[in-house]
Symmetry: C2
Subunit: 436 residues, 2 copies
C-alpha cells in the first residue's frame, strides 16, 4: 500500500525541518518514503489532500493499562487505598481472558480515535492484549508488570508466575507483526516485589535484549518507605540489581531525587509523566523541568482509564502544560507548546525504542491528521499552541499506524466498535460486576 | 414550539429528584412544562427519544470575554504582563464593531457546540455582543467591565466612557429577547478604576436593580497592592461603596481572605472559578473548599479563550476537580463529581439570577443531551463521574436554549458557521493582525 499526502502542513518533531508547509509526504509499506516540497514521481494507491488539516506524528501513550478501560469511573472519589482495595483489586480478580480482550479493544478504540499510534502497556493476561493490539494495528511495547509477594528465600523462576508469564510472552510475541509488538521486561514496582525478582528480571532483560518498564516513585509514601526499608530510593535499589541496564521506562517519577534523575538519565531511562492520574489519585506533580535539567527524556502517558478517566493525549498535554507551568514556570521557565508536543510524540517513541515519532524519510509511518477547520481550532495564530491548548480527539480525522490507515472520519477500519461494545456490555461487565 | 423528550435519563440538579430514569420531559415555549415518568397528554411538535443519551441542564459559563476568541493562542507562552502589554492590549486597540461581532459569533458557536446555554460576559462594544447573542439564542448577562484611569477629582459620569456605555447598554438591552439578555452593572477590577466609578456604578446598580460583575483578587499582586494602597482587600474596599448590594459575580477569587469570602457570601455574591485560565496565566488555584465553607456559591467559567484556549466546560470541570482535589482534597475532602456538575449548571444559573440550571417543571428549558454511546463514555459505572472525567464537547448531540433547539448532531441551527469563519478570516484577522 502506498499513500501520498499532498498540501501537507505538519509539525515534524524533526530538528532539521520542524515545520512543513505545502509539502508532500509519501508512504510506502510501513515507512515514510519521502518528505519534500516536490510531488514525488510514481503512482500511489491513494492520494490524500491535507488542505485545512495539520499532520503530526501519531501520539505515543508511554504508560497505560489498557484493559482497565472496563473500570472507567469505577470507585471514583475514593482515596488511593480505598479505591484499590475496595474497587480495583476485587474487580481485577474476576478478569478472565475474554474480559481482558474486550477491555483492551475498547481502550484501543478510544486511543486510536484520539490519535494514538503506539503504546507502552503493562497488565496481566498480556498475550491476550497482544492479540488485540495485532488486530487493532497500532504498535505496542507490552509488559506483564511482574510482582513477587513471597519470601525472598522461596523465590524460584520456575514457580514465580510472572517469571513464567515474562518468558512465555517474550518467546511468543517479541517482534511479532514485523516489530509491531515488542516485549519489555517489567517489574510492577519496588514495593510489590523483592530482590530475587529484580535480579531475575534484570538478567532476563540482558539476555534477551529487552527494555524495562517499572512504576517508580509515584507516591511520597512509596518513595519514603523504600528509603526506610533499604536506605536507598526505588530507582537506586533497582539499579543495584542491574534493572536499568537496557534503558526503558520509569513511570510517574513524581518523587525522584536529583541522584535518581541523574542515574536514570545515564541509564537511558525515560520518565513517563502521567499528570491526570497523578492529580486524580492525589499523588503529586512530577517536576519535569528538574528531570529535564538532569538529562532525562520525558514522555507522556494516560495511566489506566480507571484513574484518569480517558485515553486522551490532547488532554494529557494540556494538563501537563498547565500544571507544570503554574507549579514551576515562574522559577524555572515554562515548557513551550513545542516541548509538550515532543513529549507526546518523538520522546515517547524514543522511550519505547521505536524508529517513529518523527515525520522524516525512513521513519515508521505513524501519522495523524488533525482538522483545523472546527470552531474550537479557529483562528490559528500558532499551530503548536492550538494543538496543546485547544485541540480535542474529535479533531482527529485520520490515524495511520505503520503505514496503514486504521481510522478515518469517525470510522474504525480495523476494529468493530459495535462488536466490542456488545462484548463489554453482555460479557465483561456482567462477569466482573455482576450486572450491567 | 413544544417538544417531548422520552426515555430520559437525566441528572437534574434538583434536590427533590436528582436523577431521572425512563422519564418524560416536556417543553412548551421557553419553559419546562412537566417532568415525570408518565407520558404527558397532548400533542407535541416534536418527540425526541433520548435512549443512549444523558440529559443535563445546559452549562452556564459564568465568566468569559467571548470576542477574545479571535486571539486564541495569541502570545501563548508569555507571562501575564508581557502577554497583556505586547499582545492582547495592542490587538484589542484595533477591534471594531465588526471584529467584535465576528469574534463573539465564533466563540458562541464553540460554546453552543460544547453544551453551554447561558453566559456572563464582560467586554467592550457590548451592544454588538448583545445583537450576536440574540441571534445565537442562548441567554446572556452582559457587562462592559467599567474602567476609569483618570484622576478621581476629574470623574464625571457624563464624560466617563464606561458610565455612558453602561447607561446605553442598560437602556437598550436589559431584558431584551423576553429576558434572554440581562445587563449587569460592572467594574472591570479594583486596580483599573477608582472610588468615583465604584460609587457611581453601585448607585446605578441599585437604581436599576442590576447585579454586579467584577474581577476580584485574581492574582496575588493585585490583592496585595490593594491592601497596601487602601488597607483593605478588593472585596472589602468595593463593599465600602455598596458595589455588592445586589449580589452578582466575583470572578477568579484566587486570593480571597476569610473575611472577604464571608462578606461576599452575605452579599449573595458568587465566586466564579476559572481554573484553566488561572493555571495558564500562573495566577494560582482558588481554594473552593474554603469559599464553600464560608458560604459562597461557586460557579465555573472559561475566562477568555486567549488565556484558556477553549470554551469547553467539560474540560473546566475536569481541571477544576483534578486540581482542587490534588491541592486540598487530603485535608478538606474531595469535591464530588456531583458538586462539580452543580457548579457548571445550577450554581451558575443562580449566579446570574436565572431561573434555569435545573431540570424541573417551570424552569427555563436550557437542556443538553450527551450521547453516552461513544467509545470515550463507555462503560458507565457512574453518570456524574463520566460527565466530569470522561466527556467531551463532541459527545453533545443537542443544545436547547430557552426551549429552542439551537444545535443538533453537529449542525448549528441559529448561527451560520461558514459565514462566521469567512468574516473572521477575511475581515477580523487582517483588520487586527494585518494578515491571516
Amino acid at each position: 500500500m502506498s499513500v501520498l499526502f499532498t498540501n501537507v502542513t505538519a509539525l515534524t518533531m524533526d530538528a532539521a525541518q520542524p515545520v512543513l508547509k505545502d509539502a508532500c509526504v509519501a508512504v510506502e509499506g510501513t515507512k515514510i518514503a519521502s518528505v519534500g516540497t516536490e510531488r514525488p514521481a510514481g503512482e500511489f494507491d491513494r492520494v490524500i489532500d491535507c488542505t485545512g488539516k495539520v499532520m503530526l506524528p501519531g501520539f505515543v501513550n508511554a504508560h497505560t493499562h489498557v484493559p482497565m478501560t472496563l473500570m472507567r469511573g469505577y470507585g471514583g472519589g475514593c482515596d488511593l487505598q480505598h479505591w484499590l482495595h475496595d474497587y480495583i483489586f476485587p474487580a481485577e480478580a474476576k478478569l478472565d481472558e475474554r474480559c481482558v480482550a474486550a477491555g483492551a479493544a475498547l481502550g484501543l478504540a478510544e486511543m486510536i480515535a484520539s490519535g494514538t499510534t503506539c503504546i507502552a502497556d503493562m497488565y496481566m493476561k498480556t498475550e491476550t492484549i497482544a492479540r488485540t493490539v495485532l488486530e487493532a494495528g497500532i504498535s505496542a511495547n507490552l509488559s506483564c508488570g511482574g510482582v513477587y509477594f513471597g519470601e525472598p528465600a522461596d523465590f524460584s523462576p520456575e514457580t514465580c508466575g510472572d517469571c513464567r508469564n515474562q518468558t512465555a510472552l517474550t518467546e511468543e510475541w517479541h517482534g511479532a507483526g514485523d516489530g509491531q509488538i515488542r516485549v519489555d521486561a517489567s517489574i510492577h514496582a519496588e514495593y510489590t516485589s523483592t530482590a530475587p525478582l529484580w535480579q531475575w528480571m534484570a538478567d532476563y532483560a540482558q539476555k534477551h535484549g529487552l527494555r524495562m518498564h517499572v512504576h517508580v516513585s509515584e507516591t511520597r509514601s512509596e518513595h519514603e518507605k523504600c528509603l526506610e526499608k533499604y536506605g536507598q530510593t526505588p530507582a537506586q535499589i533497582l539499579d543495584q540489581y542491574g534493572v536499568w541496564q537496557n534503558g526503558g521506562i520509569a513511570a510517574h517519577c513524581v518523587y525522584l531525587s536529583g541522584g535518581d534523575a541523574q542515574l536514570l538519565a545515564q541509564r537511558g531511562v525515560t520518565a513517563v509523566h502521567n499528570p491526570v492520574s497523578n492529580l486524580k489519585l492525589m499523588s503529586g506533580v512530577s517536576p519535569l523541568f528538574f528531570l529535564r535539567e538532569c538529562g532525562m527524556n520525558i514522555a507522556l502517558g494516560t495511566d489506566g482509564v480507571a484513574s484518569n478517566n480517558s485515553h486522551n493525549l490532547f488532554e494529557e498535554m494540556k494538563v501537563a502544560a498547565l500544571v507544570q507551568n503554574y507549579s514551576f514556570g515562574e522559577d524555572h521557565g515554562q515548557l513551550s507548546a513545542a516541548d509538550i508536543l515532543a513529549m507526546a510524540t518523538a520522546n515517547g517513541a524514543r522511550a519505547l525504542g521505536r524508529d517513529a515519532g518523527v515525520i522524516a524519510t525512513g521513519k515508521i509511518a505513524d501519522l495523524i491528521l488533525v482538522d483545523f477547520t472546527g470552531e474550537n481550532l479557529f483562528p490559528c495564530h500558532d499551530i503548536a499552541e492550538n494543538l496543546v491548548y485547544s485541540a480535542a480527539p474529535s479533531n482527529v480525522v485520520m490515524n495511520m499506524a505503520r503505514g496503514k490507515i486504521i481510522y478515518e472520519n469517525g470510522q474504525f477500519l480495523t476494529l468493530d466498535l459495535e462488536r466490542i461494545r456488545a462484548e463489554v456490555e453482555h460479557y465483561a461487565l456482567p462477569h466482573i460486576f455482576g450486572g450491567t
